[in-house]
């Protein structure tokens, strides 16, 4: 019996794979069905996941197992319930309290996290002696790195008109951005094709058995 369901599983997988692929040709009932199953199934999945993997271990377990050490968790529970008061139009405004806690946390955490990782760390990472390198290619590269970073930052300068020296720098900056976009795009092509390879390995291997999985 288990074998039957395992085979059925593979056939289901193949069926839905083709249903999604059919969208590439045009919108059709197969895709529509797969799409709606996907939306419904995944919404259900995340609902169950949230209960089992977030609410139970982070709220229910700590509160029931050791209340005195975890009583503070009652606060987010109350905030969560306040969030649900949106459902009644009269008490809708109550949900602003939990939202303001969330947004306050986000702002506080993001303020420092980005100051550290995106500003300070990138600052020190660019602070190099460009003339030290194993060969001239690296030295040229390091000079490009510094020039590109500085001009790129200048491109994001908003409060001055981009004319004169600033305009030229900003223009060079946008060139660097374009090179980086192109490269990232080209680089990613590989990653995306890998995904298709993964799918075809499933179809050709697990389903049809033409290739070794």
């Amino acid at each position: 019996m288990e074998q039957f369901f395992a085979t059925l599983g593979i056939w289901l997988g193949a069926l839905f794979t083709f249903a999604i692929f059919s969208f590439l040709y045009k919108d059709n009932p197969f895709y529509k069905t797969a799409e709606q199953i996907f939306v419904g199934l995944s919404a259900g999945y995340w609902f169950v996941y949230t209960v089992f993997s977030i609410l139970i271990p982070n709220l229910y377990d700590p509160l029931t197992q050791d209340f005195s050490a975890n009583w503070i968790k009652i606060i987010p529970a109350i905030l969560g319930i306040m969030m649900l008061m949106r459902l009644i139009p009269k008490t809708e405004w109550v949900s602003r309290f939990p939202i303001s806690v969330v947004i306050g946390t986000t702002s506080g955490v993001f303020f420092l996290r980005y100051l550290k990782s995106d500003v300070l760390n990138q600052l020190t990472a660019t602070m190099i002696n460009p003339f030290i390198g194993e060969n001239w290619v690296v030295i040229v590269g390091q000079i490009l790195l510094i020039v590109g970073t500085i001009t790129g930052v200048i491109y994001f300068y908003f409060s001055k008109k981009h004319t004169g020296a600033l305009g030229v720098s900003a223009k060079i900056g946008i060139y660097f951005l374009m090179v980086s976009f192109g490269a990232a795009f080209g680089y990613t092509a590989m990653a995306r094709i890998s995904l298709l390879i993964g799918r075809l390995q499933f179809l050709l291997g697990d389903w049809l058995g033409i290739i070794q999985p």
Binding site: S53, N121, A189, M190, S194, I197, Q201, L204
Partner: protein, 277 residues
């Protein structure tokens, strides 16, 4: 913007489909050369003394399996070959199964390896960055038990691991956040452990700035190509090597189409200049 007449993109879709499928069935075996970032990872693991402990975090789910699974397999295999003990963790819920799957695949090649001594799977912990931070302060509090529910005090591999200090290196296989970035920020930046990782091709450009003088990241395996290179380095060609043939063909198709697009554009422009007057 004047639009040049283009070929219906569905022809391109069809070509890509067969361009990938056929090389998977009929292997070509195009040659491959290794790059610096992959070598750095290889050297890191290769230079680890026998018996040292590595923390491998599986921070991806089945969606990124095609890219990350082959490199995970290659790296784990390399560690086992070098007799490095592995502590498997996961910052993504599905990562646990991913790690399990790799262990399952390699089990037969290494019959002598013992669970709890040579490797252990500690399972998933939610919380990302915060969890990693707590691991640095008190590892045992974050992971009091392994995946099967046995206390880590009973596992010889976990002896003396109270934070990151007895861990040789950290390696994150990451498909997004939490992933390499978080590990770098905590395990390397805060606790100074060598940190390396493998990521999907798309997140690679954002990770590259971390490979710098401070060695925030020690090398990086990016995408299937890196996995294929790693397979070459450890001399065990696997599914990544095969996939690279398909990659090369598909890339070629894209490049040819870019060329066609440009030729069409220039021809149209010329015609326009001539006829427009």
């Amino acid at each position: 913007m004047r639009k040049t007449k283009q070929i219906d993109r569905r022809w391109l879709f069809l070509l890509i489909f067969f361009g990938v499928a056929l090389p998977l069935i009929f292997t070509i075996g195009l040659p491959l050369e290794t790059t610096k970032n992959v070598h750095m990872v290889y050297d890191l693991i290769d230079g680890m003394p026998k018996g040292s402990r590595a923390l491998l975090s599986f921070d991806y789910d089945p969606a990124s399996m095609p890219e990350l699974h082959p490199m995970a397999k290659a790296v784990v295999k390399h560690c086992f070959d070098k007799e490095i003990n592995i502590i498997f963790t996961a910052m993504w819920p599905m990562g646990v199964q991913m790690a399990d799957d790799i262990i399952e695949q390699l089990k037969d090649d290494y019959p002598d390896l013992k669970y709890g001594e040579d490797y252990v799977n500690l399972g998933f912990k939610a919380g990302g960055m915060i969890t990693i931070q707590s691991m640095g302060k008190n590892f045992r509090e974050v992971f009091p038990k392994d995946m099967n529910g046995s206390s880590i005090d009973e596992l010889p591999i976990m002896e003396g691991i109270n934070n990151f200090s007895n861990i040789g290196f950290v390696f994150s296989l990451s498909a997004g956040a939490p992933g390499i970035k978080e590990w770098v920020q905590i395990a390397h930046d805060a606790y100074g452990r060598p940190t390396s990782g493998g990521c999907t091709g798309v997140s690679a450009p954002a990770m590259l700035p971390y490979i710098n003088e401070q060695k925030q990241l020690t090398g990086l395996l990016a995408g299937l190509k890196a996995a294929a290179e790693y397979e070459t380095l450890i001399k065990t060609p696997g599914s990544a090597t095969k996939g690279m043939d398909a990659q090369s063909i598909a890339h070629l198709i894209i490049i040819i189409f870019i060329a066609i697009g440009n030729i069409n554009y220039w021809r149209d422009r010329k015609a326009l200049k001539k006829g427009g007057k």
